[in-house]
Amino acid sequence: MKQGIRRLALVAMPFAALAAAPAAAQELRIGLASEPTSMDPHFHNLGPNNALRKHIFEGLVTQDAEQKIRPELASSWRTLDDTTWEFKLRPNVKFSNGMDFTARDAIYTVCRVPTVENSPSSFTVATRGIVGMEAPDPHTLIIKTASPQPLLPNSMATLGILSAQANGAENVRFRAGGCEGLGTPPKSVEFNEPAKAIGTGPYKLANYTRGTHIVLERNETYWGQKPHWQKVTFRPMSSQGARVAGLLAGDVDLIENPPIQDFERIKGAGFEIAEGLSNRIIYIHLDQFNDPNWKTPGVKGTDGKNPFLDKRVRQAVSKAINRQAIVERIMGGHAVPAGELLPYPLFGATKDFPVEKYDPEGAKKLLAEAGYPNGFEVTLGTPNDRYINDEKIAQAVAQMLTRVGIKTNVDAMTASTFFTRRNKFEFSMYLAGWGADTGEMSNSMNALVVTLQPDKGLGGTNRGRYSNKQVDELVLKAMATVNDEAREKLLQEASKLAMSDYGIIPLHFEVTPWAFKKGLSYKPRVDQYTLATEVAPSGS
C-alpha cells in the first residue's frame, strides 16, 4: 500500500510541476523609473503615485490610455445646470475589506483631501472649486461648484476613493471649509500598512518596503474585470543602466523608460519594446515681459532691447529650428514634431496642425526686417536630466540658431537648479517640457501661454511671460464652458492664435517607451503611467 502511494506520487509529480508552472507565471515584476513616495492616494500629486494609486484606489471616473474620461465607480454623470453635477454610482461595489461603496465614500474622500498633513503637492487643486456635495440616495451624488467647471470629471479622475466607514466617518457631511463628522482622518503613513490601504481597486497592497519593493495582490472580490496577474511586484530602479540590466537578466518582466540608445540591444536580446505618443510637449519659451524696467537677462548685442518682443524675431527662431532633424538624429525617430502644445487626438488639439517648416533663409530675412541683420547673442537655459536628451536638443537648437545669426550659448544644469532659476525669470530663452495631466488643451494653454497672474492661478508656468489678451479671453471662456463641443472649438481657436503669434515655440512631443520580455504586451498610455492591469500575456 505504502509502495502504491509512492508510485502514485511519482506519477503525479510531473503533473504537479506542470500545474505549478502557470501559477508561477501569475506574478508580474515591474521595474519603475521613479518610486511612488507614499501609499496614501492623497499625499503627493505626482505621476508615479497616481499610477500606483489606480491599482488600489479607484476614482468616480477614470482616464483611458488616451486620457478620455471613462466611467469607473460612477456609471454615468450629467450636468443639471452649469454648476451642478449628478453622478450615478455603480451599485454592488465593495471595498477590499468587504464594506459597501456608496456616495458617502465619495463625500468623505473630498472632505479628507484638505486634511492631509505636510503634503508636498496637494490634491486640493481638484477639490477646491467644490462648494456642495449631497447624496439623495446611496448611489446618487450631487456636486455643486462655485463657478462652471467643465473639468470636474477630470478632477474626479485624480481622486482615489476611500471608505468612510473604514475610517470611522459614517455620518460625514460636506461643508465648504471643513466637513462635519469627519472623525480622525487617517495619517499618510498609516496607508503604508496593507490593512489600512483599503480601496475598491483590482489590487490590494500586500507589502510596501520603501526603496525595495511594492507588492500588490489581486483583489479577488473586485467588481470589474479581474486583472490577469495574481501578484505584482514593483521595484524602484532609478538608474537607467540598472533597469535595463534587470530586464535583460530576468530580474523583472517589464521596465519603464528604457533609454533610446539601448533599444537595439534590448530587441537584439529577444525583448520587446512598445512606445506611444505622450502628452508631453518639449518647447522653447522666449522672454516677452513687456515692462520698461525689465531688462531681459541673457541677451547681448541689442543695445539693451529685448528682441523677442518682436513677433518677427520669434518667428525667425521657429523657422531656424529643423524639428525633423532633431527628431531623427537626436531622438532616434522616437518623438513627433509638434505644431501646437498637445498632440491629436487629445481634447482641443487640431488634426494635422501644421508644423513650422525649416527655413533658415526666411529666418535670416525676418531678422533683417526686425532690425537685426547681424543677429544678436542669447543664452539658452535647459535642464540636463529632466527630459529625454534635453541637453542634446538644446545644443542642436543652439547650433541651428547660430547658423541664422542668433549666436546661442547653452547653459545646462540639473533639474532642481534649472526650475528654481527659471521660476525667477533668469533666462531670456529656455527649453522645457510640459505634460498635460488632464489630457486636454485648456491645461497646456493655461499653464504655458495665458498671461501670468499668480493671484488668479493663471499662467503658472508661462515663465516667458507671453501675454495676449485675445488668447486669454478665449481660454478663460473655454474654461467656463461646460458644453464639450463648444469648449473644444474655443480651445482650438485659442491654440491657433497663440501659435500664429509665436507666443511659444513647440519642438516635439515625447514618445514613451516600455520594454518587456517576449510573451507580454503593453498598451502605451498618453499619461506615461505604467499599469499592471494593462500588461497582458500577448494573444489574450
Binding site: V125, S239, G246, A249, A415, A447, G457
Partner: protein
C-alpha cells in the same frame, strides 16, 4: 588628561556646529524644493500652500533657528517626500548598507591577504609580479564600470546572479537583514564584490609590503633555524605581524564604505543609504540630506575623537605637547 579630554570634546562640538551651518546653508542655496515637489499643474496658491506646509516660506534665519533648536532636541526634521522623520528613513536603510559594507570588507580580506602574502613571499616570480600589476587595475578601474561589467557577465550573459536590488529579508532583533537567506546572499554578491575590489587592491599592497619586511626579521630567521615548517611560519608568524596595518586601514575604509557606497548602490539599484542620498538630492528632500550629512559628520567626529583619545592614552608625548600648547 582631563583638560585634554575637555578640549578635544569642545573641538568636536565646534566641528559639528560648523558643519551643521555649512550643510544647512549649502542646501538652502541649491534650489527651491517647491519647484520640484509641486505637481507642475500647481498654481500659485498651491505653491504658496506647499511652502507654508513645509515651513519654506519663513526667512532663512528663522528656518535655521528652528532646525538648530530641533536638532538640539534630537529631531533632524521630517522628510518632505515621505512625511516621516528623516532619521527613521535613514536608519531604515542602515541594515542594507551595513550588510553591503561588511560583505565588502570580508571579500577584500579574503582576496587581498592571500594574494598580498603570496606576492610578498615571491616578489620576483611571475605570480608576484602579476598580482602587483593586477592590484593597479583594482585601484584605477572606476567602480561603476566594474559594477556594470560584473552585471553584464554574471547577470545578463550567464544569468547566475540577479542584476540588482536586495533579496528577501528576515527580521533579526527588529532589523531586517538579507544575509541569512540564499537568495539574499546572491543579491549581495555582485555589489559587495564591486565595493571590495578597490579595497582588496589596497590590502594586497599593504600585505605585500608587510610580508617582505617581516620576512627579513630575525624572528623569522630564528623560526627557520629552529626547523619550523614554512607553512607555520607564514600562517602564524608572518600573518600575525602584517595584520596590524591591514586592520588599521580597513577600519578607516569601513567608515567610508558605509557612508559613501553611493556609486555601487546606484549601479545595482541597491536600497542602501547612499542610494537614498542620491535620490534625496534629486528630489531636493532637504531634511534627509541634512540629516544624512549630519549623521555622517557625527560618526566621523566620534571615530576621530576616540582615535585621538587613544593616541593620547598610549603616547604621553601627545598629552604633554597639547598641555603646553
Amino acid at each position: 588628561m582631563l583638560v585634554y579630554l575637555i578640549r578635544r570634546i569642545g573641538q568636536s562640538l565646534l566641528v559639528v556646529a560648523v558643519m551643521a551651518t555649512l550643510v544647512f546653508l549649502a542646501m538652502y542655496a541649491v534650489g527651491d524644493p517647491v519647484d520640484i515637489l509641486a505637481s507642475p499643474d500647481a498654481d500659485e496658491f498651491e505653491r504658496r500652500a506647499i511652502a507654508q506646509r513645509l515651513g519654506l516660506d519663513r526667512p532663512l534665519w528663522e528656518q535655521f533657528g528652528i532646525f538648530v533648536w530641533n536638532a538640539l532636541h534630537g529631531d533632524l526634521g521630517r522628510s518632505f517626500v515621505y512625511n516621516v522623520p528623516a532619521v527613521d528613513v535613514i536608519l531604515q536603510r542602515l541594515p542594507a548598507t551595513l550588510e553591503l559594507a561588511l560583505a565588502g570588507l570580508v571579500f577584500s580580506i579574503l582576496i587581498g591577504i592571500p594574494l598580498g602574502v603570496l606576492a610578498g613571499l615571491k616578489p620576483n616570480s611571475l605570480i608576484g609580479r602579476s598580482v602587483m600589476s593586477g592590484s593597479i587595475l583594482g585601484f584605477s578601474l572606476p567602480n561603476f564600470w566594474i559594477g556594470l561589467m560584473l552585471i553584464l557577465l554574471f547577470a545578463v550573459e550567464l544569468r547566475w546572479l540577479p542584476a540588482g536590488g536586495r533579496g528577501p529579508t528576515t527580521s533579526v532583533l527588529g532589523l531586517h537583514f538579507a544575509l541569512f537567506t540564499w537568495d539574499g546572499l546572491k543579491h549581495l554578491l555582485l555589489p559587495a564584490l564591486t565595493l571590495a575590489l578597490y579595497k582588496s587592491a589596497l590590502v594586497i599592497r599593504i600585505a605585500q609590503a608587510g610580508t617582505r619586511e617581516v620576512m627579513l626579521q630575525d624572528y623569522i630567521r630564528f623560526a627557520r633555524a629552529k626547523g619550523l615548517s614554512s607553512r607555520r611560519i607564514v600562517l602564524v608568524h608572518v600573518l600575525k605581524n602584517i595584520l596590524i596595518p591591514v586592520v588599521t586601514v580597513l577600519g578607516l575604509e569601513l567608515g567610508s564604505m558605509i557612508a559613501f557606497a553611493v556609486v555601487t548602490e546606484t549601479v545595482f539599484a541597491y536600497p542602501g543609504m547612499g542610494k537614498l542620498l542620491i535620490d534625496s538630492i534629486n528630489r531636493l528632500d532637504r531634511p534627509i540630506i541634512v540629516a544624512y550629512l549630519m549623521l555622517t559628520v557625527v560618526i566621523f567626529v566620534i571615530i576621530n575623537l576616540i582615535v585621538d583619545l587613544l593616541y593620547a592614552a598610549i603616547d604621553p608625548r601627545v598629552r604633554l605637547s597639547e598641555a603646553k600648547g
